[in-house]
């Protein structure tokens, strides 16, 4: 009697999408309500909370999050609705009738205070010994409601053991207030499905399958749950103590590479508005902290484009000309969360993943080989740190296969938040730093490498190069200012077709050993797609499995995190669609300000192929250092 359709979240808790009526005069499109005796008109279906926000009335929230479907479980946002016996959770009450709302009556204030008191009574730990001190939503609520003592007591011992089994995410459930944001993030937003409520009544807690440690279940380390946790129940596995030790050790040569997204967001940790780029200030700060060299990950992002692009050309050539069996579409592999997701959920597609390493790991391999050779430093004494917007990068650098330099290619993955903490600890106020440059021998990178930080960026960077390679035209002549707009923005899935046309260019030198000419691409249409957030990735993968439109694509960019790296699990908290938009604007603005905006024009990359990777892209040496392999992990939890 039931349809095949499966229900992940209860229908009533699916996000309410309220569309503003196109014609405001349309009868029934809006509804008149009263909030605190003020008459207002709102679109039908608006929640009480949204209505209050719209009109500047503050209602406290905790389980509510803009990115997630409604829950209505913490009850802190309750308000009085005339005619109803009980208080209503404003975040979960869609307005469908003309109602009168009161947001601050004695009953409401008392109930909210009681709820906060109850949460505090079960919340273990003290604020001053907490990583989220001064950025905690529970703490904020307690302050807002003037809590000066524990009305209902306070737990004296942690209730649960801390789970620090994972390289990326640490779970301390004694601090959990059961808002279920992590559950909704993991199951609904990301469709990874690691966390759920377990047991019931007072025993209710968030946990994994059979309460196993996080490292033993199918966690992809994306850290999106950390970004949405209101307290410190979820946090990243912080290596900064070890990094300080390395910095303080005179025998160690400590270098750091910085990814594009942290610099677009780290300012938020210092009170700057979202979207304030801090690239050059950060360079100076890093030097002052004591890092010996500061490199730009964008350089290896450019390198990734060359390697991954070449790999695509090889695959296409094999498929179209040599009629060989190859796996297409090719999938990007820069996002370690996505890679692990595929290894677990779609292991049969690991051959579609580009074998090119992520920029972080390429850089790691080069630092302990090329850089070590050039500077004469013993790679054993090099400590290689990567500041990333990402918690999965911590796992990635610990993958056992990532030691092609003969050493652990990248020693530590550091998140934006952790770096901000180190900078503060060093007594530095980042916004006041003078501007500084990146260090040689890698120097400055292109704008193409920079936009890796935003969803669609890898694809845009790749297309800029591929179009120039194949057609011989300038990217600027094909796309206005070389900006490929259809690949930008926050639509979950983006699709684009690029007709090659009948005029092709000459094969550039670095590819000459691979293809004789481009004639075989005459009249072809390159089909590409972009997905961000693993839930969207799942949609594409299921479509490919079913032989749908995306199975005809040639190249697909996947990012595990919503918004791409700029919305990564290591970025400053909070995260909202608005904040992610601002960060993206900062990245695209910086790209447009640069002279070199195409990976293959990056002079340092060109030199790298001339001096070090002499067999060219996808050659023997690059295969050894810049490419990797993957593991069919599957879904079974042992």
């Amino acid at each position: 009697m039931e349809s095949k359709e499966k229900l992940r979240a209860p229908i009533s808790q699916k996000p309410h999408v309220v569309e503003k009526p196109k014609d405001p005069s349309y009868i029934g499109g809006t509804i008149s309500i009263e909030i605190n005796e003020k008459k207002l008109s709102v679109p039908l279906g608006t929640t009480i909370l949204e209505a209050c926000k719209e009109y500047g009335i503050h209602v406290p929230t905790l389980c509510y999050h803009e990115d997630l479907c409604m829950a209505g479980v913490c009850r802190v946002c309750v308000v009085e609705v005339e005619g109803m016996r009980t208080l209503q959770a404003s975040c979960a009450f869609p307005i469908t009738a003309p109602i009168k709302i009161k947001t601050s009556t004695p009953m409401v204030r008392k109930a909210r205070r009681h709820i906060i008191d109850l949460m505090l009574s079960e919340h273990s730990g003290e604020c001053y010994s907490c990583i989220r001190n001064s950025n905690c939503e529970l703490q904020k609520l307690a302050k807002e409601y003037g809590v000066d003592h524990y009305t209902f007591g306070h737990v004296d011992k942690p209730r649960y053991e801390v789970d620090n089994s994972s390289y990326s995410v640490i779970r301390d459930m004694s601090k959990c207030v059961l808002c279920k944001r992590c559950v909704r993030t993991c199951i609904d937003l990301q469709e990874v499905g690691v966390l759920e409520s377990l047991d019931r009544g007072r025993e209710t807690h968030i946990g994994t399958f059979l309460d196993k440690p996080l490292s033993d279940v199918i966690c992809i380390n994306c850290g999106q749950c950390i970004n949405r946790c209101p307290t410190a129940a979820l946090r990243a596995n912080d290596p900064s103590d070890e990094i300080w030790n390395a910095i303080d050790d005179p025998n160690k040569h400590v270098v750091i590479q910085t990814a594009p997204s942290p610099r677009a967001a780290i300012g938020e940790e210092f009170g700057l508005p979202a979207g304030t780029s801090m690239t050059r200030q950060m360079n100076t700060a890093l030097k002052r902290i004591g890092f010996d060299r500061v490199f730009d990950t964008n350089t290896t992002a450019d390198l990734t484009i060359i390697e991954e692009g070449t790999e695509l050309v090889i695959r296409l050539y094999k498929a179209l000309v040599k009629k060989e069996q190859v796996s297409l579409p090719q999938f990007t592999s820069c996002s370690p969360g996505w890679v692990k997701y595929l290894e677990h959920y779609y292991p049969e597609y690991i051959d579609n993943l580009s074998s090119a390493k992520s920029p972080q790991q390429m850089f790691g391999a080069l630092i302990k080989t090329f850089y070590a050779e050039k500077t004469g430093i013993d790679p054993a004494n090099i400590v290689s740190v990567a500041v990333m917007p990402c918690s999965a990068k911590k796992f990635e650098c610990n993958r056992p296969e990532m030691n092609d330099s003969g050493y652990k290619d990248v020693d530590y993955g550091l998140t934006t938040r952790e770096l901000a903490q180190m900078i503060k600890e060093a007594g530095i106020h980042l916004p006041e730093m003078p501007k500084g440059d990146f260090d040689s021998p890698f120097g400055e990178a292109s704008g193409a490498g920079l936009i890796f930080g935003a969803t669609g960026g890898v694809m845009e960077a790749a297309i800029r190069s591929i179009v120039e390679f194949v057609t011989g035209k300038k990217a600027e002549d094909v796309f206005e200012k070389a900006n490929i707009i259809p690949l930008r923005g926050f639509d979950g899935i983006k699709y684009m077709e690029i007709p090659i046309g009948n005029e092709v260019g000459t094969v550039p030198d670095i590819l000459k050993h691979l293809v004789p000419d481009w004639n075989w691409l005459k009249g072809a249409t390159l089909k590409v797609a972009v997905a961000h957030g693993t839930a969207n990735a799942k949609k594409i993968m299921d479509d490919i499995k079913a032989g749908g439109k995306f199975s005809e694509c040639h190249f697909i960019e996947f990012m595990a995190c919503p918004g791409g790296c700029l919305g990564g699990g290591g970025q400053p908290i909070p995260t909202t669609p608005e904040i992610r938009k601002k960060r993206a604007q900062a990245i695209y603005a910086e790209d447009e300000s640069l002279v070199v905006r195409k990976s293959h024009e990056n002079p340092y990359v060109i030199r790298l192929y001339e001096e070090f990777l002499k067999e060219g892209p996808c050659g023997h040496k690059s295969h050894k250092l810049l490419h990797t392999h993957y593991i069919k992990r599957g879904r079974y939890i042992a």
Binding site: M1, G193, L198, F209
Partner: protein, 157 residues
């Protein structure tokens, strides 16, 4: 679990999915059948149910841990549950409980060494007019006295 047992379990769950339908709403009936047969919902079974219904294993475990009639670890062959609600309590639950514990030598919440009996408390069995009530597997006994309770236990295998 041995491979053979696993295959057997997979087959069994496939049959259950066919019987109740490929839908999340079949989850409880499927788990109930597994529980009835195996006196537990084993780890592997949870993963297989998840796979066949296309949901996540943790979602199955979440449901299993929510309902008190499911358990993941094997219990005794016979489940003996004594109602702990107030009317049964007033009618002499405590003396029945003590008699049971004395007689079979385990406490409530435990299982006998030979795996024959598990003793548990349960909330209201709906026999408040005839308390104390005892639920042995699916069968309900009412107006149980210490002596009668012990006799009931001696009759089960």
């Amino acid at each position: 679990m041995l491979v053979l047992e696993k295959n057997e379990m997979t087959k069994e769950i496939e049959q259950l999915v066919n019987k109740y339908g490929f839908s999340r709403s079949s989850l409880l009936p499927i788990l109930q059948d597994i529980q009835r047969k195996h006196k537990a919902v084993p780890d592997f079974a949870q993963q297989e149910v998840a796979r066949l219904l296309d949901i996540h294993p943790v979602e199955v475990y979440s449901v299993v841990s929510f309902y008190s009639f499911f358990n993941t670890k094997q219990k005794g062959k016979n489940l003996v549950r004594l109602c702990q609600t107030i009317t049964c309590d007033l009618a002499g639950k405590k003396s029945v409980a003590r008699a049971l514990e004395r007689e079979i030598g385990i406490k409530f919440g435990e299982t006998t060494k030979d795996n024959k009996i598990t003793l548990e408390y349960v909330n209201c069995l709906g026999m408040c007019d005839q308390g104390p009530a005892l639920l042995v597997n699916e069968r309900v006994y009412s107006k149980v006295t210490p002596e009668k309770a012990v006799q009931i236990l001696s009759e089960i295998k």
